[in-house]
């Protein structure tokens, strides 16, 4: 089974984002960037499939600036086999990303595409589902378990009331949730090996996809700040304060 894993370069999850004074967006200059945490989980899942013998090849792809190569290298160091960078300095929207991925799926013919459920910068939670629709493939989103059973892919999904399991007839799309696995740290020898693994460089035009945005940013602002309140002495004071505030 061949697995395709799209990985996005985003602000590191430990960094507190700062809104630019001119309200055009979030300031990313000199900010630590990393692989989207959900995409690390996707890569880990693919690597485990390969280690377990069910996956034969793992191709990782990123749509983004030149620096997204670093994100691809991280995935290669975790155990992916080769990378594709679709280079663009524009901010690609999920629909555009899904269209490029559709074309890459056409060329690579993977049996499974594993995406993150959401990118922690735009918080869209769209790309995997859009790709599934464009391809006419079934989807198992927000996965906390993925396994093969009687020729189908069984995906256990984290849903509002608990867990739901669906069986997908492959090829299929899976999007990962936090509890699917715990991603490994790449070892130094694997980081060295990853430097020799191939990364193909492409442009959106190579796939004939127009990435012109459908959404124009009017402004990006700080959320209303919540004032810190007061520290209370003890439980009794807490209860009195809550009563006065009408919360009890």
């Amino acid at each position: 089974m061949k697995v395709l894993v799209p990985v996005k370069r985003v602000i590191d999850y430990n960094v507190k984002p700062r809104v630019k004074a001119d309200q055009t967006g979030v300031d990313l200059t000199n900010v630590k960037m990393s692989m989207n945490p959900f995409d690390e989980i996707s890569v880990e899942e693919a690597v485990r499939m390969k280690e377990g013998g069910s996956a034969s090849e793992i191709v990782v792809v990123s749509i983004g600036p030149q620096q997204a190569t670093e994100t691809l290298r991280t995935a290669l160091a975790m155990g992916a086999d080769r990378g594709i960078l679709v280079k663009t300095d524009d901010n690609a929207e999920p629909l555009g990303v899904a269209k490029i991925l559709e074309k890459i799926v056409g060329e690579e013919s993977p049996d499974l595409v594993i995406l993150g459920k959401q990118a922690i910068d735009d918080d869209s939670n769209q790309t995997g589902q859009m790709l599934a629709a464009l391809l006419g493939w079934p989807q198992g989103t927000f996965a906390s378990e993925v396994k093969s059973e009687d020729g189908k892919i069984h995906v256990t999904r984290e849903v509002d009331g608990g867990l739901q399991t669906v069986a997908l007839e492959g090829p299929a799309i899976v999007t990962t949730d936090l509890r699917l696995n715990e991603p490994r740290y790449a070892s130094l020898p694997n980081i060295m090996k990853a430097k020799k693994k191939p990364i193909d460089e492409k442009s959106p035009a190579d796939y004939g996809v127009d990435l012109a945005p459908r959404l124009t940013v009017v402004k990006v602002t700080e959320p209303p700040v919540r004032e810190a309140g007061e520290k209370v002495e003890d439980v009794q004071t807490l209860i009195e304060k809550l009563k006065t505030a009408g919360a009890l």
Binding site: Y13, V19, G128, S144, V159, G162, L163, V217, K231, A245
Partner: protein, 309 residues
């Protein structure tokens, strides 16, 4: 101008998020119809007909729609969108699963998790775990929108809109429902609860979570939530997770017990009316958003609190 609202429901009952989505759809403008797709969903359809401002309810009965699987929902909704200018869907796991498929088929960019809208093309949504609020203008002919429930009031329920049955064949597709394991609870639903008690990693075990968080929630008539760390460690089920990648809540009272207040957690609860934090570390970031902070060992403070309530 007409908007289709896709209802989130359990066949038996309509989810509160649907009423809130109708409010958002009414702000968009035009006639509002509600689609209730399921199996044995007559009750849900009847509830939808009561929502104020609804022109009519479209009710579809079909086995593959019972669990509202995305593939079947796409097959149902996409052809209907000829008649509508927008599709509004609650940003529940159902909505998040289904809406982008429809958007892609209509070749439009979805507006995810909106908290506000101005006219028919301008939408407000949080990004970066709510650390920034983005206002965007959409140039697409049709809009596909998911709505964050905490940002809109539920519409009233004194209407009696007509229910129109529609039929069709939506499967079986390449995806099949196998099983589900739903969390059993008599407590209010997290996203609709007026009070929430959430526990974090500090609880240390499943047993302690039960022993300290549950009785406090009982006393307050509250729903129970958890941090990611508590869910990952198995102290609480996954659907208790509050945060950027869990549930977004905004109760009257949110009590965070042994939770540090990581930005991903704050993203899910900082719009609560009153926040109480109990944490033994006085530097914990949760105190920066708490109205009332108690620096204490939870294993002493919580029993005291239960006793005193």
């Amino acid at each position: 101008m007409a908007v289709l609202v896709l209802a989130d429901h359990s066949n038996d009952a309509l989810s509160d998020s649907t009423n809130k989505t109708v409010t958002a759809a009414a702000k968009f403008g035009g006639e509002v119809d509600v689609m209730v797709a399921g199996e044995g969903a007559a009750n849900a359809a009847a509830e939808a007909a009561k929502i104020d401002g609804v022109r009519k309810v479209l009710h579809v009965e079909s086995a593959p729609l019972k669990k509202q699987l995305a593939e079947a929902m796409e097959a149902l909704i996409v052809p209907l969108m000829d008649r509508y200018d927008a599709l509004f869907v609650p940003a529940t796991t159902m909505g998040k699963n289904v809406a982008p498929r429809i958007a892609a088929k209509l070749d439009v960019m979805q507006l995810s998790d909106i908290i506000g809208l101005e006219g028919q093309d301008t939408f407000v949504r949080p990004i970066y775990a709510g650390n920034a609020i983005m206002t965007v203008k959409s140039s697409d002919a049709k809009k596909v929108v998911t709505v964050r429930g905490t940002a809109f009031d539920a519409a009233g329920t004194s209407n009696s809109a007509p229910v129109e049955q529609i039929s069709g064949d939506y499967g079986p597709g390449k995806s099949q429902f196998v099983s589900e394991e739903m969390t059993e609870s008599d407590r209010p639903e997290l996203t609709a609860a007026k009070r929430i008690v959430s526990g974090g990693r500090a609880l240390g075990s499943d047993a302690e979570f039960q022993k300290y968080i549950e009785p406090l929630a009982d006393k307050l008539g509250a729903a129970v939530g958890a941090s990611r760390a508590a869910v990952d460690a198995g102290y609480a089920p996954n659907d208790y997770q509050v945060g950027q990648t869990g549930k977004i809540v905004a109760p009257e009272l949110y009590v965070a017990v042994g939770i540090s207040g990581a930005i991903q957690h704050l993203a899910g609860m900082k719009d609560s009316k009153i926040i109480v934090a109990i944490n033994k570390d006085e530097e914990a970031p949760i105190f920066q958003v708490a109205d009332y902070g108690l620096v204490a060992d939870l294993f002493n403070a919580v029993p005291e609190l239960i006793e005193a309530l």
